[in-house]
C-alpha cells in the first residue's frame, strides 16, 4: 500500500479564492493510499517546502502530490524538495489547480470539484511512479569545429587551450576565412592579417588541434557526448606529408591565368596553388578543373599533357592519382562556424526568392565591385599591392561611389535583414580611399548609418568629418556605363534633389548570406535554419550559441550577420559551453526515456519506424551458447528524447516511457 502525501496550495488568494483548498485536502485525504493531506497558504515558500520535507520524514511518504500551479512553474522546485527529504524526486508530481482551474473558473463549487478530480488523477498516477535515476552518458572529450575562419579558429584555440582535443575541418585549402582577405579592420584600422596570421599558426602548431584543411563533413551520427563524424579529405594532388611548401611547383605551372578566389577574382593564380602566401597549411592544391593534366585525363587523352610540377618537385610530393579519403572522428560536441558569402547582383540566383539588380546592370558593368573586392584592392598583399586601381583599365578612380544596403533590407530582392557590418566597412573603405588616393572623392549612399558598437559611431563620424567622405541619404535608382564613366543616378532624400554622378568606380556593400551548402550541413547535424539559411540558435536571448540539437553549437556569421568581435565572442562562448560539457566525464540526463520489455517484444519494429530520433535499435537476444533467440528493439537512452510515440504504436505495449507509463496513465484515466 502506498503512503502518499497530498499538499494543497492556496497560492495566497490565487487558488484559494475559487477553490476550497481545505475541502480538496480533505477529499484527497480520504483516497486510499493517502496518509497525509493538508492545505497551506504558500506551498512553494520556505515554510511550505519545510512542511513537505517534514511530512515525508514523519509519515514515511513514498509519494508526494502537490496541488498547486503548473508543473512548468514549480515541478523542479518540489522535486528538489522531496529529494532533499530523502526520497526519489520522481516520486513527486503536481496537480495543476491554478492555471487549469482556479484562474479559469468562477463557480467555487465547480472549481473545487475539478480541483479534487485533477488531484485525484495525480494521486492515482503517482501510485505507479517508480524511483528513477538520471541517465549517465559517457562523454568523448573532443570537439569538432566546422569552419576555419576567425570564429572556428577562436573556438578551436579556446577549447584546445582548455585542455580538450579539437578537430578543425575547413573546406578551403587554407584556414583563415574571409578575415584573411581583409585589409584593415574597423574601428581600429589595424591590419587584418597581422592579427590573424599568428592565430592561424597557433592552430597549426597546437598539440591538441587536428587541422583538416581542404576537407568537408560528410556524415554525422550519434548524439551529445558521442558523435561519430565522417570527414571527406578532398584530394589535393599533393602528398601533404612530403611537401615542404617551397612553392617551386607554382612557379613552373604554365596556366597562371586563373581568377584567384582569394583576390575575389581581381588577381590571378596558377592551377597548382596555395591561396595566399601565409596559408595554413602551406601545402598547395591542384585545381583539377583548370589543370591541363586532369582536363586531359577527363577527355581520356592517351598522354598526360603536363607534369611540370611533378618534375620540379624535389620532395616527390606531387601525387596525381590521389583520391578523396574518408576519415571517422569521434567527438562529443560540434561547433558550426561556416561563416558567410556575399550576395551577388547577377540575374541568376541560387534561390527563387532572391533576385539580382537589373538596375545596376546585373553585374555586367566593369568597375562595379563588391566590398571584398575593394578589400583586396586596399590590401598590401592584394593584386595591386594596396593601390586603389580600378579593375577595367588600372586607372586610379577619382570618384568612387559606395552603395550601402545592396540586397540587405530589401524585401523586393528577397532579403529582409540588415547585414550589420556594411555601414562600418564602407566607412573604413572611404577612409582607406581617402588615405590612398589624394584628391579622390568618396560618395556614400546610405539608408541609415547603423554604427552601434564600441567606438563605431566615432569611426563613421571620422570618415565623414575628417576624411571628406560625402554621405548622401538615399538610394541609387540606376547606373550604366557611359564611355569611361559609370553614370550613377541617385536621389538625396535630405535635400530632395536627384543626383547624377559620373563615377570612376562603384563599390556595392552587398548582403551577407550564409555559405552555400549550409542547408545540407544543417540537415546532417539535425539543426534548424531560417528561410535565409542562417542556423537557428536555441533561444535568441538566453541560449544564443546553442542549437536545438544538444551538443551542437553555433558561432559567427553562419547564425546571422556578424562582425569580427561578435564572431569571436560567440566562438569563445561555444568554447566555454563545450568545456563545461566536457568538465565531467559523464553527462546526466533526465531519465524520462523509453524502455523495451525484451521478454514480450515481438520485433515488429514499428517503434523504429516512428522514432523521430532514430533512438530505437535492433538488439539480438542470444542464449548462453551465443545462439540467436530473437531480435528485439532496444532504446538508446542517450538518443531518446522521451516523446513516447513508440509506445502508442507498439501493438503489444512492450515499450514503456518512464514517467508516463501505461500503468500511470491507466490509473489516471481510471480515476475519472
Amino acid at each position: 500500500m502506498s503512503r502518499i502525501g497530498v499538499f494543497v496550495c492556496h497560492c495566497g488568494e490565487n487558488i484559494g479564492r475559487t477553490v476550497d483548498c481545505a475541502a480538496v485536502a480533505q477529499a484527497c485525504g480520504e483516497l486510499p493510499g493517502v496518509v497525509h493531506s493538508i492545505d497551506y497558504k504558500y506551498m512553494c515558500s520556505d515554510p511550505g517546502q519545510a512542511l513537505v520535507k517534514q511530512a515525508v520524514a514523519e509519515h514515511k511518504l513514498d509519494g508526494v502530490v502537490v496541488a498547486a500551479c503548473s508543473p512548468h512553474m514549480h515541478e523542479k522546485t518540489f522535486r528538489k524538495t522531496v529529494a532533499n527529504a530523502g526520497i526519489n524526486r520522481f516520486l513527486c508530481e503536481m496537480a495543476n489547480v491554478r492555471e487549469h482551474c482556479s484562474w479559469i473558473h468562477e463557480d467555487r463549487e465547480e472549481a473545487t470539484q475539478k480541483a479534487i478530480d485533477l488531484t485525484r488523477f495525480i494521486v492515482e498516477k503517482i501510485k505507479h511512479n517508480v524511483p528513477l535515476e538520471p541517465i549517465k552518458i559517457p562523454v568523448t572529450r573532443r570537439a569538432l569545429v566546422i569552419g576555419g575562419g576567425i570564429a572556428g579558429i577562436q573556438a578551436a584555440l579556446d577549447i584546445a587551450d582548455g585542455g580538450c582535443e579539437v578537430v578543425l575541418v575547413e573546406k578551403e585549402p587554407s584556414i583563415g576565412g574571409h578575415m584573411s582577405q581583409l585589409s584593415e579592420t574597423f574601428p581600429t584600422l589595424d591590419c587584418s592579417q597581422c592579427i590573424l596570421t599568428p592565430r592561424m599558426v597557433e592552430v597549426y602548431q597546437h598539440p591538441r588541434i587536428k587541422l583538416m584543411a581542404y576537407a568537408e563533413v560528410d556524415k554525422v551520427e550519434g548524439y551529445i557526448g558521442n558523435f561519430t563524424v565522417t570527414v571527406r579529405q578532398k584530394a589535393r594532388g599533393v602528398n601533404a606529408s612530403l611537401c615542404n611548401g617551397c612553392g617551386e611547383c607554382q612557379k613552373v605551372c604554365p596556366n597562371k591565368k586563373i581568377a584567384s578566389e582569394f583576390d575575389a577574382g581581381l588577381g590571378k593564380r596558377p592551377a597548382i596553388y596555395v591561396p595566399f602566401p601565409q596559408a595554413v597549411p602551406n601545402i598547395p592544391v591542384i585545381d583539377r578543373a583548370n589543370c591541363a593534366l586532369y582536363k586531359g585525363r577527363a577527355r581520356n587523352a592517351k598522354k598526360d599533357a603536363c607534369k611540370k610540377c611533378e618534375e620540379v618537385c624535389g620532395r616527390k610530393a606531387i601525387d596525381f592519382d590521389q583520391q578523396d579519403t574518408f576519415l571517422t572522428e569521434k567527438v562529443g560536441a560540434i561547433v558550426v562556424a561556416t561563416g558567410y558569402q556575399l550576395y551577388n547582383i547577377k540575374k541568376e540566383q541560387d534561390k527563387e526568392a532572391i533576385s539580382g539588380y537589373g538596375e545596376y546592370g546585373y553585374g555586367t558593368i566593369p568597375d562595379v565591385i563588391d566590398g571584398l573586392q575593394f578589400e583586396r584592392l586596399a590590401s598590401a598583399s592584394g593584386p595591386t599591392g594596396g593601390k586603389i586601381l580600378r579593375p577595367s583599365d588600372g586607372k586610379e578612380p577619382k570618384t568612387v561611389v559606395f552603395l550601402q544596403c545592396i540586397g540587405s533590407r530589401d524585401p523586393a530582392k528577397g532579403i529582409d535583414y540588415c547585414s550589420k557590418i556594411c555601414c562600418m566597412y564602407i566607412a573604413k573603405h572611404t577612409m582607406l580611399y581617402h588615405h590612398k588616393v589624394h584628391g579622390g572623392q568618396a560618395i556614400v549612399f546610405f539608408m541609415d548609418i547603423r554604427a552601434g558598437g564600441k567606438g563605431y559611431d566615432e569611426f563613421t563620424r571620422r570618415a565623414i568629418e575628417e576624411n571628406d567622405a560625402l554621405y548622401v541619404r538615399g538610394r541609387v535608382s540606376k547606373m550604366y556605363r557611359d564611355g569611361d564613366v559609370i553614370k550613377v543616378l541617385g536621389f538625396d532624400t535630405l535635400s530632395g534633389e536627384p543626383m547624377h554622378i559620373d563615377a570612376d568606380m562603384v563599390v556595392l556593400a552587398t548582403a551577407m548570406r550564409p555559405q552555400p551548402g549550409i542547408e545540407s550541413l544543417a540537415q546532417k547535424l539535425s539543426v534548424s535554419y531560417d528561410r535565409f539559411g542562417f542556423i537557428n540558435e536555441a533561444h535568441p536571448k538566453l541560449r544564443p550559441v546553442e542549437t536545438n540539437t544538444a551538443g551542437v553549437y553555433v558561432a559567427g556569421a553562419c547564425q546571422a550577420p556578424r562582425d569580427i568581435p561578435d564572431a569571436v565572442a560567440m566562438a569563445s562562448a561555444t568554447a566555454s559551453k563545450i568545456l563545461g560539457l566536457f568538465s565531467a566525464s559523464e553527462l546526466e540526463r533526465e531519465p524520462l526515456v523509453a524502455q523495451v520489455d525484451q521478454g514480450t517484444c515481438a520485433g515488429c519494429f514499428h517503434c523504429v519506424r516512428v522514432c523521430p530520433y532514430g533512438a530505437v535499435e535492433h538488439f539480438e537476444v542470444k542464449d548462453r551458447k551465443g545462439n540467436l533467440i530473437k531480435t528485439v528493439a532496444q532504446v538508446n537512452k542517450g538518443v531518446c528524447q522521451g516523446c513516447g510515440t513508440c509506445q502508442a504504436n507498439c501493438p503489444s505495449k512492450s515499450v514503456e516511457l518512464q514517467g508516463f507509463t501505461d500503468q500511470q496513465i491507466f490509473a489516471a484515466i481510471n480515476a475519472f
Binding site: 521478454g599 515481438a602 504504436n649 491507466f666 490509473a667
Partner: protein, 289 residues
C-alpha cells in the same frame, strides 16, 4: 494439381524446403497439411475450397514449425499479402520461404462447402480482392483466373454508414454480446504475431478479459487499430469466429479509410512501407480543429 505435387516433391527432395505447408483432403473438405516427406507430396490439393490462410503458419508464434527453418508454403494472393506483411515486419526472412503461388479467382465461404463458386457461395473476402495471382511467389501455378463472382446481399458498410451513431452502437452491441472471447480471430490471423497480446496484458489491463460487452468492444476496436494498414483482407477472422460476428466488416471499413486517406492498399510487395508509422506533411487533417 499434379504440377503442385511435383514441385513439392522436388523441393523436399533437394532440401530447398524441409516442409511444404499446403492443403490436403480432410474429413470435411480440404484442411492444412504439413508435408515433410517427398513421397507424401501427392497428398497436396488445391481448389476453391482451400480457404485457409496458410501464412499464419509462418508466424514465429507457431513454435512447432519454427525448427523446420526452410518452409515452402502454398499461397493464394491474399496469403501472399500476409507473407509480405510478415517479411515487412521482420517476422519472416524472405530467403527462408519458398512461395508456391496459386492463381485464384476466389474461394467459397468455407472448406466444407461444395466447391462450386457462385454469387451465393463466394466468400465475402474475395469481393474486394484485386489480385488474381500472387506476384511475390517463387513458383506460379494454376490457370489464368477471372474475377470472382460478385456476392449477393446488401453493402453492409454503406448500410451502417447511413445509420446514426446510436443505431450503429446498437448493431454492434447485438453482434458483440455473443462474443465468448475465445480469441480465435487473433489465433487464426497471420498478422497477429505478438508474443504477448495486449488483450492478455494485465498490468494495466486495458482490455477486460471476461466476455463482457465492454471488453468485447474495446478488444475489437483495438484489434482493428492494430490491423490498420496491415490487414490483408483474407477474412480468416470472420470464418474462425464461432459465433459469427461479422468482424470482416470493421476491417473492410478500416481498409477503406486507410486507402482513402493515405492512398495505400496492402500489397504483396514487402518493400512498400506500411502507412502507419509513416506520414506525409500534407496528410489530410480536416477533422482537426
Amino acid at each position: 494439381m499434379q504440377a503442385l505435387q511435383e514441385l513439392a516433391r522436388k523441393l523436399l527432395t533437394d532440401k530447398t524446403a524441409n516442409v511444404v505447408i499446403g492443403w490436403g483432403q480432410g474429413p470435411r473438405g480440404p484442411r492444412p497439411i504439413f508435408v515433410t516427406q517427398p513421397e507424401h507430396a501427392d497428398r497436396l490439393i488445391f481448389d476453391t475450397r482451400c480457404v485457409h490462410n496458410l501464412a499464419t503458419y509462418l508466424n514465429p508464434r507457431r513454435a512447432h514449425l519454427v525448427p523446420f527453418v526452410k518452409k515452402a508454403v502454398v499461397v493464394k494472393p491474399c496469403d501472399a499479402r500476409a507473407v509480405a506483411g510478415l517479411i515487412r515486419e521482420t517476422q519472416v526472412k524472405r530467403e527462408d520461404v519458398v512461395l508456391i503461388g496459386m492463381r485464384c479467382g476466389g474461394v467459397v465461404r468455407d472448406s466444407d462447402m461444395d466447391g462450386k463458386l457462385t454469387e451465393a457461395t463466394v466468400s465475402p473476402r474475395c469481393m474486394d480482392c484485386p489480385d488474381r495471382e500472387p506476384k511475390l511467389a517463387d513458383h506460379l501455378m494454376g490457370e489464368e483466373a477471372s474475377a470472382p463472382p460478385k456476392g449477393k446481399g446488401p453493402d453492409m458498410i454503406a448500410k451502417l454508414d447511413a445509420m446514426s451513431p446510436a443505431e450503429r452502437w446498437e448493431f454492434w452491441q447485438k453482434e458483440l454480446e455473443r462474443c465468448v472471447r475465445c480469441h480465435a480471430c487473433r489465433e487464426v490471423c497471420p498478422m497477429c504475431f505478438c508474443d504477448r497480446c495486449i488483450a492478455d496484458k494485465s498490468m494495466p489491463q486495458w482490455i477486460e478479459s471476461s466476455p463482457h460487452p465492454r471488453g468485447n468492444l474495446s478488444w475489437q476496436m483495438t484489434r482493428v487499430m492494430h490491423m490498420a494498414g496491415r490487414c490483408v483482407g483474407c477474412g480468416e477472422c470472420t470464418r474462425a469466429c464461432p459465433v459469427d460476428i461479422p468482424l470482416g466488416l470493421i476491417l473492410r471499413k478500416m481498409t477503406q479509410t486507410v486507402e482513402e486517406r493515405f492512398g495505400y492498399r496492402v500489397s504483396d510487395d514487402p518493400t512498400v512501407p506500411a502507412p502507419m508509422g509513416a506520414y506525409r506533411l500534407d496528410d489530410k487533417q480536416e477533422f482537426i480543429l
